[in-house]
């Protein structure tokens, strides 16, 4: 039993695959304008505290170095970070729980990303109502999903997180909805952010 433990995402990895920090990840490359990437291996830490640990609250997210701090609920933050990273945010009187293995996380990227989500989610994704770094919880294809708008390179980009067990279903549902827009799977870029 000397074999090192390998962690697996709930989502089937598109070839080719590699091991990154103990996780099997896809290195598939796509030049499609609309892509979906499984970033479930990213560290996800839930922090609950009555104290204002972060300047922003429920409904917005903010970058702190490699971490994305998401105000995921009242007095609650979800910290998203690189694979294997440990957040230096623990303070007294806060509850910290590693949810890395409990949540699927995927990134939907491309200018047409809102058009895909429009087919699965009833939330108004327009700029005034849902600006960059807005965070909210909604039903996506009938799955409770935490959504963060996290634009990349000036293009619309959304992080979607759900319970791990529904991850493959949600991933497949987004691909189904994005088929008419030419969605493709993009693997994780080596050393890239989630």
């Amino acid at each position: 039993m000397a074999e090192l433990p390998i962690a697996r995402s709930p989502i089937e990895q598109a070839d080719p695959v590699e091991i990154e920090s103990g996780w099997i990840v896809s290195r598939r490359s796509s030049d499609a304008a609309l892509t979906i990437t499984d970033v479930s291996a990213a560290t996800k830490v839930l922090v609950k505290s009555e104290r204002h640990l972060y300047p922003h609250g429920y409904g917005t997210a903010a970058r702190q170095g490699d971490w994305l701090i998401v105000g995921s609920g009242p007095s609650e933050w979800t910290l998203l970070g690189p694979v294997g990273a440990v957040p230096a945010v623990v303070q007294p009187e806060s509850m910290v729980l590693d949810m890395t293995h409990g949540r699927a996380l995927m990134r939907l990227h491309g200018e047409l990303a809102p058009r895909v989500l429009e087919k699965l989610c009833s939330i108004d994704l327009s700029e005034p109502m849902c600006p960059n770094l807005a965070a909210f919880r909604a039903s996506v294809a009938n799955v409770v999903t935490d959504i963060v708008r996290d634009d990349r390179a000036g293009l619309r980009s959304y992080l979607l997180s759900c319970e791990r067990s529904s991850g493959q279903y949600l991933f497949d549902a987004i691909r189904d909805a994005g088929a008419e827009f030419g969605i493709d799977i993009q693997g994780r870029r080596p050393g890239g952010r989630f």
């Binding site: 433990p5 390998i6 890395t100 293995h101 108004d124 799955v143 529904s166 949600l170």
Partner: protein
Amino acid sequence: MTNRLPVQPGEIIDRGSQVEFTFDGRSHRGHPGDTIASALLANEVTVLSRSFKYHRPRGVMSATYLDPGATVQVGDEPNVRGAHRRLEPGMEVISQNRWPSLGFDLLAANDLLGRFLTAGFYYKTFIKPQRLWPWYDSVLSKFAAGGTVSPDTAHGHFDKRFVHPDVLVAGGGLAGMAAALSAAVEGASVMLVEEEYELGGMLCFDPARLNLLAEMRSAVVDHPGIEVLTNSVVTGRYDDNWVAIVQRGLPSIHERLIKARAKCLVVAPGLIERPYVFEGNDLPGVMLSTAVRRLINLWAVKPGSKAVVMSANESGDDAVADLERAGVDVRHVANARDGAGIVRAGGNKKRVAWVEVSGAGRIACDLVVTATGWTAPTSLMNMAGDRPIYDARAARFFPSQLPEDVMATGRITGDGTDAELAEHAAATGYEAARRAAGRGRSWQAARAWAAPVDPGDLPPPKEIRPLARQDHPELFRSSTHGIVDFGEDVTSKDILAGAREGYDSIELVKRFTTVTMGPNQGKLETVNAVAVLAEARSQTISEVGTTVWRPPYAPITLGALGGRPWEPVRYSPMQPWHSSHEAVGLVAGQWIRPDHYGDPAAEVKNVRTNVGVIDVTPLGKLDLRGPDVSHLLNMVYVNKWAKLDVGAVRYGVMCAEDGVILDDGVTGRLGPDHYLMTTTSSGAAGVWEWIENWLQTEHPEWRVHVTPVTTGYASMNVAGPRSRELLARLVHDIDLSPESFPYMTVRQGSIAGVDCFMWRIGFTGELSFEIHVPAGYGLHVWESLFTAGADLGIGAFGVEAQRIMRLEKGHFIVGQDTDGLMQGYSAGIDWMIKLDKEDFAGKPELGWQQQHESDRLVALQPLDPKIVPPEASQIIDDHRIAGRITSSRFSPTLNRSICLGVVAHHLASPGTVITIRLPDRTEAQATVMEHHAHFDHEGSRLRG
């Protein structure tokens, strides 16, 4: 295609290519851009269908989606609007409502019997005798109109879309385009919805206005703030401007339902030309003026060769000009503004042959054109609460009071030149954008994150000068009777008969005669129906009023309503292993679980003999942290929790306030202020909600953080006499001996290099270890167990084997052995219920139950060990139902049948022999056992 005209300036057909299709098996050709109806007319086919009731031959009348004479079957799709659906290569078009053929329809005998088939015939004739109704039903159903759907029809692709435009414009004519442009210029996001395939409305078939059309179209299409949906229709407006749109003709998507939340809805549907009621008005070749204009200008189809026109407005005059330009011999124009009009028409089976005109006598012709007025399609405004008002001078209805978030523009509100209409629409679009901006700001301010919204100043309101109303003669019916509702074959005589029978309200007449209840839902017929009733009752149209238009405005497929079947499924991390080992799946809630791997009985024997592993990931898991967790546990469980040591595990049952069993599971104390609670798989969400309710509303002072972590862990139970031996090969930092790690305790350590929680608990009655590891490592640990245990006879077991073993052990399952009425004492957990606790959920009810006799859950063994009474079999006592079997299986361990069942209190004593009624109505006897456990009551195996 002998009726095809030379190139017309605004035609939309592509003459560069041809489309082959068949109609009732006969081959024809058309061009891309043709509708089914225009192509058939170009091929000199004038009869397209038979009517609903009298099976009269019908042809093109309006040349729009609403054309009642052009409904056909296309392949497997029935009731296709043939005057709207574009031709496609290889299309197989079949006429409807005829037998055996369109030309020779025996069902047309109904027309001969028409005088006996008046309104109310159906209701009056078939109501008695009641016992014959099934026979009537079977015969009448053979006469049902419409096409046919094959059961083998492939499921089409349908989906939905949610949009939130600032301004939604319904109608893409001149006014709709102008309003959309104006709103977009003001910065609004605009969705413009047009029923036809191209924007433009009536501009499209007016050669004199093609430049204006091109200019408007390009301005709209080029504007980035406007999304144009053609071949789409707004079907309903609901509260708070929730607007439904049906979008058709998308690539590979049959139909899409768009759910729009519009900040402002602009209704710009234009007007619908109204037919005229006279004898013979449904003959093929009798057309509306807009129909002949469409046919000539859009599809270059010559609608006839010898025409008579009745004109009361510019549309009729323009039709005359178009007809003459197309080479049609216009034999007579009856100017209805001067009182001239059509009296009746007649013809043969294929088309109209003559028309009688007042003052001009009988004129031979093959085309009769009427231009007698307009119907305002006020549906969306009706749905917004408006009751349209009739204006006798203009001979049509107009909107009256609209809510703030609904506006109207275009000819539905008045008449005018193109410039006047565009000006009105532009002002309306500006105001719609202004109102939308106001609403948008209030919505932004209500966001959870509530970033400050710069209130700024909304643009100033702009005056919308009302459009004038052009005088128009009131023309509804000639001196003869004819069809009012072409979809339902309702005549003006039927309406008069209804009035004579006392149906004095238009709503009652509608239901008695079915007028306006056909496929067009009154869009062509309503005003004529109202006018005929007004005539019968010597009232004005205003006094009669209209029926209420309700959604949907246009038909919508069930597929579009359903959309994509998004039904979430949940998988364990070990699913790939299950799939590759031929697991037979079981749908448990949303979870897909292995029911068994081929032989559940063998799986049981292996667990009892060697070692087995089951995937129990779906078990609900809640992480509880904080100094007040024990208070919470004491409240939600019926037993005591104040003295649970760190490292200890306790079984608990939750009851609701009424004492009914809610859920059960074990909770372990992982640290001084840290617990892990497990729940049933199906109860996980409900228990979380239940706990949050206690924490948020009943005891907000308790310091407890609860977090669902069900899928954070892959969970597996290793069970069997060799389970400890197996784990010893993979676990090196936990002392697995019974002395150090006894039954009902929990330890933290690692397995196969992965951190884990390990519990000494199980559902099977065997020595068991329940292991929870971070879910991403679940498959690694699972596979490691099988590698390490190959020589120990390790085997996977599924839900079915687990259910057999738990029944052997006498463990009940909440929801199977309990129901929505079973209180705690009935389940036999008397030893657990601690009424001496200060308080807990369900305590008063359980206190009451303790003092009263109630049904009991007991173990049962049939006297004949081969009989396995099916679950839910009744238990009978003195010919009365005295209980039921809740669980039953054949036990491979005991080689006999075993059960759990609920029995009346007086039958619950051990040794009582009860009677079970089996589904084949035979009976079997069974003995009530002393304990729930059929096997190892002392628990020596699980404590080993």
